[in-house]
């Protein structure tokens, strides 16, 4: 790895979100709460989802983890809160594709906004899991709410 790679990984946007995470903390009301762990390193997130009809009205979380996983949770909440569930799920898909692309996927800023800063992470297989931890927790919690409301 070179210093350039390192800087591609730790973009300013990521470090900003890490130092000043958005929407952090656990809030009421919520319909589902999940707890996800990255078994390899022990990073954890507890995450709550509050849906208002088909709109993601709040996502709150408490987490312990590295800069990538913390920043990713922050960016994720920015992207999904206030959206319709299916739009948010589409963004989730797009982020997943970016992360699993091993650096070959060109991110779409219109969709991913600050999330494009994670393009560099895709080149570090060991860190992809960090970036995905909170996204997976959000998807899981949302699925639980949807299931119950059926």
């Amino acid at each position: 790895m070179t210093n350039q790679d390192l800087d591609a990984l730790y973009q300013e946007i990521i470090l900003d979100h890490y130092k000043h995470p958005h929407h952090k903390g656990l809030r009421e009301p919520f319909e589902a709460e999940v707890h996800h762990v990255n078994p390899t390193c022990g990073d954890e997130v507890t995450l709550r989802v509050h849906l208002d009809g088909d709109v993601v009205s709040d996502v709150s979380y408490d987490s312990v983890g590295c800069s990538i996983s913390q920043a990713s949770a922050s960016v994720m909440t920015d992207l999904v809160i206030g959206r319709k569930v299916d739009e948010a799920l589409a963004i989730h898909e797009e982020f997943l594709t970016l992360m699993q692309g091993r650096g070959s996927v060109e991110p779409d800023e219109d969709v991913l906004e600050d999330g494009i800063a994670f393009a560099g992470v895709a080149k570090f297989p060991a860190r992809v899991k960090c970036a995905l931890l909170s996204w997976m927790a959000w998807k899981d919690a949302t699925a639980q709410v949807m299931e119950e409301s059926h």
């Binding site: 070179t2 210093n3 790679d5 390192l6 730790y10 390193c41 022990g42 590295c66 960090c130």
Partner: protein, 398 residues
């Protein structure tokens, strides 16, 4: 040389060690020129393979001062060796049988591989799992040993050297107490075998496990040593292949040790590689390796102490510890530390190191660990310390 042009500074030897050329060459020679299955074959290649495999057993027996070569059982890793014991105890009858009311004692600093097997055993048999706690400076808290290890205790299983805290435990002393109450003692020597001269009898062990890839040997091979009387009493573990005496559809009888516990084609070339590895270590001398480890560890502890905001988890006296040093650095997560160090060619481990309970004990989620070995130089420690300074500046802490 790694991508980025830095020379490799490998400080992850407690995770797995690098291999001397002689180990690789011995394995290649075996694969190219003596490849055959063992025990079963009458032909020349078969005789050569069997000879090489069984002489690896002799070498390992000598390395750990086993009273008998037949007490050395080849497994795939230390985890399998520990599970072999817990798993066969689940089916043991007589003295070794474990059931409701019985207790198994471990410690809070165990590797997951010496925790989960005992959780499975005690849950499945209705027995109780108990453990030694830890003191703030990373030692075993032995203050309640006489209550903890009592007449209900059937097994005491503990690590000789902690892979997270580096602590060297007083194994023989604890074994003495365990034997007083009639418990058997299982020693996880995964981190001890690479660094300390091992004498299974002096250690007071009834059973002892270690793993090939941490003693400059290959993956795919581990060792379980056990006292003959204990091994003879345990029922078989895996069934099949050469672990039998005779097989009829209705019933089988089993071979004696060590074969009773070695079902199927064993890791042949891996055992041969392990034989070369322990020969290599013995030629260097375990006393010398131990002295080098202590010197490097002392040097590293001094260097780390100069990094602002850095806290070492575990004993600070190099004479009382092994070469794995886990630490925290204020304001930077271990993943990020490891990543920045990697960009400078320095390989360390970040995470829970398969010792989550020990991390929880010290209120941390994860830590960064540097671990040295016989090939580690002071210059590499200097590179680490510089790398940590650079990490602090990269993340603008302090």
């Amino acid at each position: 040389m790694l991508a980025g042009g830095y020379p490799l500074v490998y400080l992850d030897s407690a995770n797995t060690s690098q291999k001397p050329q002689v180990v690789i060459d011995t394995m290649v020679d075996h694969l190219e020129r003596h490849n055959a299955n063992v025990a079963r074959a009458m032909h020349q290649l078969g005789a050569e393979a069997s000879e090489a495999f069984e002489s690896a057993r002799d070498k390992v027996a000598a390395f750990i001062k086993a009273p008998s070569r037949d007490e050395v059982i080849f497994t795939k890793n230390a985890s399998e060796a520990l599970n072999l014991v817990a798993n066969t105890l689940a089916w043991a009858t007589g003295d070794l049988a474990i059931g409701a009311g019985d207790e198994v004692v471990i410690t809070e600093m165990e590797h997951h591989s010496n925790i989960v097997p005992w959780q499975l055993l005690t849950e499945r048999k209705g027995a109780t799992l108990r453990w030694f706690g830890l003191t703030d400076d990373g030692h075993l808290d032995l203050s309640n040993i006489d209550e903890l290890v009592n007449e209900r205790t059937k097994v005491v299983s503990l690590t000789w050297v902690s892979n997270m805290l580096g602590t060297v435990n007083p194994v023989a002393e604890i074994a003495r107490r365990a034997h007083e109450v009639g418990a058997i003692v299982v020693v996880d020597a995964s981190q001890a075998a690479p660094q300390l001269p091992v004498d299974v009898v002096a250690a007071g062990a009834d059973l002892l496990a270690f793993t090939g890839h941490k003693v400059v040997g290959p993956t795919g091979i581990g060792v379980l040593w056990g006292r003959r009387e204990v091994l003879d009493q345990l029922p078989p573990f895996l069934g099949g292949g050469e672990m039998i005496e005779t097989v009829r559809m209705e019933r089988s009888t089993y071979a004696g040790i060590p074969h009773k516990f070695e079902a199927g084609t064993p890791p042949i070339v891996e055992a041969v590689g392990l034989g070369a590895a322990v020969d290599y270590l013995s030629a260097v001398g375990m006393e010398a390796i131990h002295a080098h480890e202590q010197a490097v560890t002392g040097y590293a502890l001094e260097g780390l102490a100069t990094v602002p905001g850095l806290t070492v988890l575990g004993p600070l006296d190099p004479t009382q510890r092994g070469g794995a040093i886990s630490f925290e650095l204020d304001g930077v997560h271990p993943h990020d530390i490891a990543q920045v160090l990697d960009s400078r060619g320095i390989a360390v481990r970040a995470g829970h190191h398969c010792a989550k309970p020990a991390h929880a004990r010290f209120g941390v989620q994860s830590s960064t660990r540097m671990s040295s070995y016989l090939y580690t130089t002071p210059a590499e420690i200097d590179a680490l310390v510089e790398g940590l300074e650079y990490t602090r500046s990269y993340f603008k802490v302090g």
